[in-house]
């Protein structure tokens, strides 16, 4: 099966004598966008980090051979006084200036327009001087610049203002549509899951549900997952959890 990018079998992660992930098994196919949802401490970030091989685990995590993985970590903060410009940050990965500008343009920066002061405020400015939303978009562009075939995303919009949030989701959507980019993303926002994910995994130490969001996300599952009444309805587009 050429389309199988990742196969996870009986994954267990134990951290500080606590079982954080309990016997997870699932597959990821090309073009899938898998959203992982679950309460705080459910092991969502741990799962991503285990998939990337950052943590010791038991079981099998098999990526397709030679696959290139992009990773955008959660809430990265860059020291304000770190002497590294956005341009230099990209140069660490890509030498071609045009290519860098193109990839920044693809995450919504107005690179051509002089009045936006993009060059002065973003490109040749310190990475630490960017706002939360700008930094997040820069990190996405950085992860995408060498065309990975799968993107792992730990809460893409945490600590980001509303307008950047929309840009980011819009961007993710177009990446799926145009490039058939495979994605694994952790999200707190159920409406995002309905809108953008082809598959959802409810995680609370173990797999509570797995499948297309409209099929598997019912009130009962969400109650098991988050406990009590979550007060969420499928058609709500404003409410956040």
């Amino acid at each position: 099966m050429d389309d199988l990018l990742l196969s996870v079998k009986n994954l267990n992660v134990v951290l500080n004598d606590h079982l954080v992930l309990d016997d997870l098994s699932f597959d990821l196919k090309k073009g899938d966008s898998l959203a992982i949802i679950g309460p705080n401490g459910a092991g969502k970030s741990v799962l991503l980090r285990a998939l990337l091989g950052f943590l010791p685990f038991e079981g099998k995590v098999n990526w397709k051979k030679g696959i290139k993985i992009g990773y955008v970590p959660q809430r990265l903060s860059v020291d304000k006084d770190m002497p590294l410009t956005t341009y230099e940050f990209f140069s660490l990965k890509e030498g071609n200036r045009e290519k860098i500008l193109n990839s920044l343009s693809s995450v919504g920066f107005d690179v051509k327009n002089d009045s936006s002061n993009f060059i002065k405020h973003v490109f040749t400015n310190r990475l630490g001087a960017l706002s939360g939303g700008e930094l997040q978009r820069v990190l996405i562009a950085w992860a995408l610049i060498d065309s990975p075939s799968v993107l792992l995303f730990d809460e893409p919009t945490s600590g980001v203002d509303i307008s950047s949030e929309e840009t980011i989701y819009h961007l993710l959507h177009s990446l799926q549509e145009k490039h058939r980019l495979t994605m694994v993303l952790i999200s707190h926002e159920l409406q995002v899951v309905y809108k953008y994910a082809s598959t959802v995994m409810c995680l609370n130490k173990e797999k509570v549900c797995f499948g297309p969001p409209l099929e598997v996300l019912d009130r009962e599952t969400l109650q098991t997952l988050y406990g009590k009444d979550v007060g969420f309805y499928k058609h709500s587009h404003t409410q956040k959890l």
Binding site: P73, D81, M82, P83, F89, A143
Partner: protein, 257 residues
């Protein structure tokens, strides 16, 4: 100016530039005090080397390399960086070193004496400095990305674990050279102060690295000359010049618009 004095200046400049280049990553990684504490480990190594009649730099180097591996191992295996443990390890080796070093050698070991560097040692120091700069340059991309996020560096394919080990081994090499130059107590300054000054006034990493090497050059050159003219110790003179540069850059950073 005699030929041998000129040679000493050149040795000093090479060691200082290499120290500042490695130090520029150390400052960004917020490991400044590791470089400082690491230098204390050199002392017992030097004392044992002197009593065995071998080169003190060699003794210092052996102890420093072992210490670098210990720091690396602790850093890789524990979740939180155990600063306290590193502090205890290094101050205890300083205490041990002071007891082991015979009194006439103690002052030199603590504060260095560049005048005592012979031609063979000097040329070795220059070559090793060049080696350290080139090797650090080769791992500098991975080092820089790991400062932003170690996990992003790993996901981009860098073997961060090994890059960290290579880096720490190079730091111990440079500290061993610096110890002969400015002594165990002040080597930390050679590693930390020029990058700290450069950081005050640079926007990008290229400017930062180049400026810190430049400040290292100016401090060692001026310091050695001032020490010779005023007949004072070289190490403290070099360090104080670099502190003066730091103050100037700090003030410039405060007053510029």
């Amino acid at each position: 100016m005699t030929a041998s004095f000129l040679f000493l200046i050149i040795v000093g400049i090479f060691v200082a530039i290499a120290a500042s280049y490695l130090g520029s990553f150390m400052v960004l990684r917020r490991m400044s005090l590791v470089g400082d504490a690491l230098s204390h480990v050199a002392l017992p190594g030097m004392a044992i080397a002197i009593s065995l009649n071998v080169s003190p730099i060699l003794g210092a180097l052996v102890f420093l390399l072992i210490a670098a591996i210990i720091i690396w191992y602790i850093g890789e295996t524990s979740e939180v960086y155990p600063e306290t443990l590193v502090g205890i390890l290094f101050t205890s080796s300083l205490a041990l070193g002071i007891l082991l070093t015979k009194e006439p050698d103690l002052l030199e070991a603590l504060f260095g004496n560049i005048e005592k560097i012979g031609y063979v040692e000097g040329i070795a120091a220059i070559l090793l400095s060049i080696f350290a700069v080139i090797t650090t340059y080769l791992i500098s991309k991975g080092l820089t990305i790991a400062i932003i996020s170690e996990e992003m560096a790993k996901s981009a394919g860098y073997k961060i674990k090994w890059i960290n080990l290579i880096y720490l081994l190079l730091v111990s090499l440079i500290v061993a050279l610096g110890v002969k130059f400015v002594g165990t107590l002040l080597t930390g300054a050679l590693v930390i102060i020029p990058p700290a000054s450069a950081k005050n006034i640079s926007n990008g990493i290229k400017g930062y690295v180049v400026l810190s090497a430049f400040f290292a050059l100016v401090s060692s050159l001026t310091g050695i000359l001032i020490a010779r003219i005023l007949a004072i110790e070289t190490g403290p003179a070099v360090v104080l010049v670099s502190v003066a540069i730091f103050l100037l850059t700090y003030l410039y950073n405060r007053i510029r618009p």
